[in-house]
């Protein structure tokens, strides 16, 4: 019998770099259809958590996704199961064109729906269509972020992990990126959003976790977190 409740179930996750503990036994859950955020200051361990989930780092503890134990899967098997990560710093292939980057997003697929999905991504992110023959390395930061999201969508993810999509972007572009994320969520993709921009993250998400030096210190609905004096002082600049 499975006692899992969530699409993603994390139990006592630990990540170490050499002897240094970056994630110190955290547990959290993301249920199907939810949009959950993980907020915290620089160095709290958010990226390490996502990298562990995406099997880019060795980790201890339990990570269950759907019916699968993530630590039994190699990184390249995850997208086939619907788990996608938009990494910190975007990670677009700079020397591939925009179109090629998007094609890479569908690398694991061989179904008939790829062209239609490309059309949908271009509808959602028209800028990418204009620039599809351009090398990704020549795009602006915001465009690269859009491309990274579009590329992940080409993989038809069920669960999308987003690592600081607002990082380094001008406020107007941040708004645009978050609009896109909201649209993606509305289309039924479950989202785990990592952000330093707590204000925005708590606005768009239903629930949130606060991470501090490798531990989860608060877990609540986004509404309650946004009203919590500790969060307001530490993360909302009051």
């Amino acid at each position: 019998m499975s006692t899992d409740r969530g699409l993603l179930d994390v139990l006592n996750l630990e990540v170490n770099y050499g002897g240094i503990a970056a994630v110190k036994g955290i547990s959290f859950i993301v249920e199907t259809g939810e949009m959950v955020c993980l907020i915290g200051a620089n160095g709290a361990g958010k990226t390490s958590t996502l990298k562990a989930l995406a099997r880019m780092l060795p980790a201890r503890g339990e990570m269950r996704y759907g019916g699968a134990k993530l630590h039994e899967l190699p990184a390249h098997a995850l997208i086939g199961k619907g788990l996608a990560l938009v990494p910190e710093g975007r990670g677009v292939f700079a020397r591939l064109t925009v179109a090629e980057n998007l094609d890479m997003g569908a690398y694991h697929r061989s179904d008939e729906g790829i062209t239609a999905d490309l059309g949908r991504v271009f509808d959602l992110l028209p800028r990418l269509k204009e620039r599809r023959t351009q090398l990704a390395g020549t795009l602006s930061g915001g465009e690269q972020q859009m491309l990274a999201i579009g590329r992940a969508l080409m993989g038809r993810p069920k669960l999308l992990l987003l690592d600081e999509p607002s990082m380094g972007l001008a406020p107007l572009m941040v708004q645009k990126v978050f609009e896109v994320i909201r649209t993606v969520a509305a289309q039924g993709v479950t989202i785990l959003l990592v952000e330093q921009n707590a204000k925005l993250a708590l606005e768009v998400c239903g629930r949130g976790y606060v991470m501090e030096s490798g531990r989860i210190t608060l877990a609540d609905t986004a509404k309650n977190l946004a009203a919590d004096p500790r969060v307001r002082v530490a993360y909302l600049g009051e």
């Binding site: 995406a54 880019m56 190699p74 990184a75 390249h76 098997a77 995850l78 997208i79 086939g80 996608a84 990560l85 990494p87 990670g91 292939f93 700079a94 020397r95 591939l96 090629e100 094609d103 890479m104 997003g105 690398y107 694991h108 590329r151 993989g155």
Partner: protein, 307 residues
């Protein structure tokens, strides 16, 4: 006879072969930052395997070009399997080791292959039967043989095919993505192990072809022919910008021409002190000049220092 044009023809023939071998170096470097010094030995094995298949068939009444084709097929298959084996056994376990470890391993693999070839084929020079049409043709006062034309055409077509594979297919896209970032490519579902092995297989196949062509051109093969050829092709790859595919092709052709012109004129240049047997010097002179003045090569991007 026009020496200049003659040496251009000879240089382009030789350069086509260097280009094919250089591609093997540059592809592996591009995808994993490794200089596979064993690659020259793979070329040598290709030549000797082809010879072993062609020699007994040479007098059998089969048409010469067909015999070469059979020898080539055998060489390509053996070398592809060899490339995959080398990657799996020698390099994969060291994927995350400090860079010096796989480099030293590459030299080790190279010695092993050379010794192995010596045990199988002995130390002697083997003459390669003349199976391809090699009638000379006169063009503007210089001579070009049919074998030379064939070598250039085959090399050009092969390289065009490779460019199509790398730039126009899903697999090629995955290779380029993996070269840029294996970790991110994995997020898209790319199994880096598969792509890296494929790179070795393709590079080794090209090497086998080059081995057969070089044996056909000079009519000779021996167990240590891979060393100098490998070193020169590596020079060509560096000249073009290591990691850059068109660079390897341009570097190969250019090096071939430089060498041939050097050999043609060195006697005049030194007042007869040095003869054309000093031809090999030019490749290394070029290597030194490139490393001093343009370490990223003609078409390469600036690369960070890698030990």
């Amino acid at each position: 006879m026009d020496i200049f044009l003659q040496q251009i023809f000879n240089g382009l023939t030789l350069g086509s072969i260097y280009a094919l071998v250089a591609l093997g170096y540059t592809m592996v470097y591009g995808i994993m930052g490794l200089i596979n010094f064993a690659h020259g030995e793979v070329v040598m094995i290709g030549a000797l395997v082809a010879l072993a298949v062609m020699a007994p068939l040479a007098g059998s009444g089969l048409p010469g070009p067909l015999v070469v084709l059979i020898g080539l097929a055998a060489a390509v298959l053996v070398c592809m399997a060899l490339g995959a084996t080398i990657e799996r056994i020698a390099y994969r376990p060291l994927r995350n080791a400090p860079r010096l470890a796989p480099l030293i391993t590459a030299i080790g693999v190279s010695i092993v292959l050379q010794q192995l070839a010596m045990l199988i084929w002995g130390r002697r020079y083997h003459s390669v039967p003349r199976l391809l049409p090699d009638a000379p043709h006169e063009i503007f006062g210089a001579t070009i043989t049919e074998v030379q034309i064939l070598i250039m055409v085959v090399a050009a077509l092969t390289m065009a095919g490779l460019m199509l594979l790398v730039n126009r297919t899903k697999m090629g896209r995955a290779m380029r993505a993996t070269a840029e970032s294996p970790a991110i490519a994995a997020l898209m579902g790319v199994d880096a192990n598969r792509i890296i092995m494929l790179t070795f297989v393709i590079g080794s196949g090209l090497g086998a072809l080059a081995g057969v062509l070089v044996a056909a051109n000079y009519g000779i093969a021996h167990y240590h022919m891979g060393f100098l050829l490998g070193l020169k092709a590596f020079t060509a790859a560096v000249l073009g910008g290591i990691g850059n595919l068109p660079g390897a092709m341009v570097g190969g052709l250019l090096l071939g021409v430089i060498e041939a012109l050097g050999a043609g004129y060195i006697g005049d240049l030194t007042g007869g002190v040095l003869g054309s047997n000093y031809q090999d010097v030019f490749a290394f002179f070029v290597l030194i000049v490139v490393l001093i003045f343009r370490p990223s090569g003609l078409m390469g991007e600036k690369v960070a220092e890698r030990a």
